[in-house]
């Protein structure tokens, strides 16, 4: 950094390149998020002896929805119409913060892990409000179930992020990923517990089985889908796209905290490319794992969800404690 003051051109070029790196990471997360969903669905189809629709199906769905007209329910307030943009915007912002491809993110210092949880909450609150805005019983039902899941999942998320922060002595996502990725391979017991806990949280937060069934058509059992029932056209496209970005981001957090090897630490061309390649490889493995899990699990009875999330919280607390007991 001392050089930058002496050579201003170098400093500008550096920032420009960093900016490009940031842009590359954000854009790749946003545009490749549907492909990850496509991969999970493809694996699920294969595991269930169905002919898969192809990895690009989510894009076709999004294109179809973007071309369709928006049908608004009578009595929809402006809140209902701006929510898709807020949800998509929050996910886009989160994509700029999570070190998926590179840790060298100029936006990184703008928000830390706690703020990231806040960004996800913002999107969720707007989604729940818009679901209730229409006044259909399914929207209300979905919203209240989503809030129940969320308020149980959030403390567990925070505990997991705190554990990671304790090891790296920072709540900044980039610093955590850099510290954890830069160390020699040692098995941290706290991280093992935290990873397990975070995986359970991913399932709950992204409305996957066994908490919610993303492919159900039964309106009375829905959680996430029930909130989207009244959306159509580009609004629905943005909501669906937002959910797929969220899923990818949660997995990116899992990767950058607990499997950080291969993430680029500088904004060089080769670094970005190898970081991207590693991300794709890890996502493919994790996506397959998710599909196997979802194909073998039945959905939990709704009132078992608190038990599931209590287990996630318990694991997170064990992770937190084992850091103090075993690693300090």
């Amino acid at each position: 950094m001392t050089q930058t003051s002496t050579v201003p051109h170098q400093w500008i070029a550096d920032l420009l390149f960093k900016g490009l790196g940031e842009l590359f990471q954000t854009a790749s997360v946003i545009f490749f998020a549907p492909i990850f969903l496509g991969w999970v669905n493809l694996c699920r189809s294969c595991l269930q002896s169905r002919r898969p629709a192809g990895i690009l199906q989510p894009y076709r769905d999004l294109l179809k929805l973007l071309r369709k007209e928006v049908v608004l329910a009578t009595g929809a307030s402006p809140l209902f119409r701006i929510t898709p943009y807020i949800v998509f915007g929050s996910m886009g912002l989160a994509a700029a913060l999570v070190p998926a491809v590179t840790t060298d993110l100029p936006f990184g210092p703008a928000a830390d892990a706690i703020a990231l949880v806040g960004i996800f909450s913002l999107a969720r609150i707007f989604m729940a409000l818009s679901a209730m805005d229409i006044g259909t019983p399914f929207g209300d039902m979905g919203a209240r179930r989503e809030m129940m899941i969320a308020f149980l999942a959030e403390p567990a998320t925070m505990m997991v992020l705190f554990t990671a922060s304790l090891i790296s002595r920072s709540t900044s996502l980039s610093t955590i990923a850099e510290t954890l990725g830069g160390r020699h391979f040692t098995l941290y017991p706290s991280l093992v517990f935290a990873t397990t806990s975070f995986f359970l949280i991913i399932l709950a937060e992204n409305s996957r089985l066994p908490i919610d069934n993303p492919s159900t058509h039964l309106e009375l059992t829905m959680i996430h889908e029930a909130m989207l029932l009244e959306y159509s056209g580009r609004h629905l496209a943005l909501m669906e796209w937002g959910s797929s970005i969220k899923l990818l981001l949660y997995f990116s957090i899992l990767i950058s905290f607990f499997l950080p090897w291969g993430i680029s630490h500088e904004s060089s061309f080769g670094g970005l490319l190898s970081g991207f390649a590693f991300l794709v490889l890890k996502l493919f493995i994790l996506g397959t794992l998710l599909a196997i899990l979802e194909s073998t699990l039945a959905k939990l009875r709704l009132f078992r969800a608190p038990e599931f999330l209590a287990a996630a919280y318990l694991l997170a607390v064990i992770a937190f404690l084992s850091h103090f007991i075993l690693e300090v």
Binding site: R44, L47, Q48, S49, R50, P137, F138, M141, L209, P210, N213, S215, T216, H217, L218, E219, L220, T221, M222, L229, S295, T296, L297, A298, K299, L300, R301, L302, F303, R304
Partner: protein, 500 residues
């Protein structure tokens, strides 16, 4: 009174009654442990008939009330059998004659859009204002309503459900049906039985064999003819194949509703294999239009017997593997166990039959009780569970699908040779017949009255769903809203079979 009217089966008894006798029969049946099967009516210029059928012991008793002259009202048996309420309300909606002594005066099949009484074309006797159906409401802190349907998010038939819930818990659920009413009773009047059988096959698409068989039996019993033995065996075979296909589909759908889509795809593969074989052997995937009065329309011949038998034993093996997977899947069992419990006492009070009845300890299965061919020559073990929850209904379905697959092989082994179809002789005007069949849902009843020649004056089709729907209402309270689709699927009542 008229001995020509008595059906040929020893298990069927028609009792001619007057008004008092009609009510007396209902009272006697309710006191001596009989259960209601169906209530139906037929009214014309010269003739007014009201029927109620009860099953007691191993016999079907039908009270036949014949009235003459202008009728102002009909006697209601709801004080003895509350489950008759919707059937009587339907008779009132279709014929415009009210029941005295009934408690529930709301319309049922009529959604307030019929300007004239459908089956008489007379003006409506009383005017019902348009507006909402008056559902029974629950009052209290935090109680709210969830209306569901008639248009659903999935591809299912139309029906409206009104839930009164507090939080996620259901306090009361009430159904509003009739959206798939097609006027079957009206369509069945004064048509030759060759057309009537097509109508019967389309009362409920998934039970086409059951309804066609019940219709054929009612015509044959009215004419008083016997069908060839080979035809009776083939009818049994078709009935079992329909049962297998539907049970396989239901088992898969039950797993899917619990979130395990693996189960759905596996069972659908098996069901598809069976349906394709139906197509190649009998020419129709759902076995439509194969049974007709006089026998069976198509003889598969000797060639496909080994093929059908082999396929049945292969499916049986696969089902056994899947049953083991279901039983060892903790998540699935957790969803099934204790969900949607219908205790045997309630089931007995309601007079439940079929799969749902047998899962709640009601040991009624015509294949065991009547042992009509081919079941007189084959062994048959009846399924019975007493749990009354979704798990019990799944267990009954597993048991029955395995038993049916075994039966298919045994029937094929013992299939006699001979004709499969006898042209039915002309019927005598005014003769009536009843057919009762153990369909895959439960007992299917069909009543027909002949007009002479091959013309049928009127028919009535009774699907077990008339009892299953009220039983579902009794089961839901106390369960979670999110468990309703699973419980509904475990009952799987027919919308179109009920709405007629």
């Amino acid at each position: 009174m008229d001995e020509s009217r008595s059906p040929c089966s020893p298990f069927l008894e028609v009792i001619e009654t007057d008004r008092e006798g009609y009510l007396h029969l209902a009272m006697e049946m309710s006191e001596t442990g009989g259960r209601l099967v169906s209530v139906w009516g037929f009214f014309s210029e010269s003739l007014s008939l009201l029927f109620s059928s009860y099953f007691r012991g191993e016999r079907l008793f039908t009270g036949r009330l014949s009235l003459s002259g202008k009728i102002s009202d009909l006697p209601s048996i709801t004080p003895f059998f509350p489950v008759a309420s919707r059937m009587e309300r339907s008779i009132r909606d279709l014929w415009g004659i009210s029941f005295s002594g009934a408690q529930d005066h709301r319309r049922w099949l009529d959604h307030g859009l019929w300007e004239r009484v459908p089956l008489t074309q007379k003006a409506q006797p009383e005017t019902f204002g348009e507006g909402d159906y008056p559902f029974v409401r629950v009052e209290g802190m935090g109680v709210h309503e969830i209306p569901v349907g008639p248009v659903h998010a999935g591809m299912i038939e139309p029906g409206h459900f009104r839930f009164q819930v507090v939080g996620e818990k259901v306090l009361r659920m009430e159904e509003r049906l009739g959206y798939s009413h097609r006027g079957i009773d009206g369509l069945s009047r004064n048509i030759p039985w060759n057309r009537g059988i097509k109508l019967a096959g389309r009362v409920s698409g998934d039970t086409t064999v059951g309804h066609a068989l019940a219709y054929s039996l009612s015509i044959e019993s009215a004419i008083g003819m016997e069908v060839p033995k080979r035809a009776r065996f083939l009818r049994g075979l078709l009935l079992e194949r329909e049962r297998i296909a539907n049970h396989l589909g239901d088992l898969g759908a039950l797993a899917n509703d619990a979130g395990l889509s693996f189960g759905l795809s596996q069972f659908l593969i098996l069901k598809e294999d069976l349906l394709r074989q139906n197509k190649s052997v009998f020419g129709h995937r759902l076995l439509m239009d194969l049974i007709s009065p006089g026998g069976v329309r198509k003889d598969p011949g000797p060639l496909p017997i080994a093929e059908m038998s082999g396929e049945a034993s292969r499916i049986l093996q696969e089902v056994e593997i899947l049953e083991m997977i279901f039983e060892q899947h903790g998540g699935l069992q957790d969803r099934f166990f204790g969900t949607g419990t219908l205790p045997p006492e309630t089931a007995q009070k309601m007079g439940l039959c079929g799969v749902v009845g047998r899962a709640s300890g009601q040991p009624f299965d015509l294949r065991r009780l009547w042992k009509e061919p081919p079941f007189d020559e084959t062994g048959f073990t009846q399924a019975l569970e007493t749990g009354g929850d979704v798990r019990a209904r799944v267990a009954v379905r597993f048991f029955e699908v395995k038993e049916s697959l075994r039966l298919v092989q045994e029937i094929l082994l013992k299939l006699p040779s001979g004709d499969v179809f006898l042209e039915p002789p002309s019927g005598e005007s005014g003769k009536e017949g009843i057919g009762l069949v153990e369909g895959w849902r439960g007992e299917i009843l069909c009543w027909s009255r002949l007009e002479g020649g091959d013309i049928v004056a009127a028919s009535h089709f009774h699907d077990p769903s008339w009892i299953l729907w009220p039983a579902l209402e009794m089961t839901i309270p106390g369960n979670l809203v999110a468990d309703f689709p699973l419980i509904n699927k475990s009952f799987n009542p027919s919308y179109s079979g009920h709405d007629l």
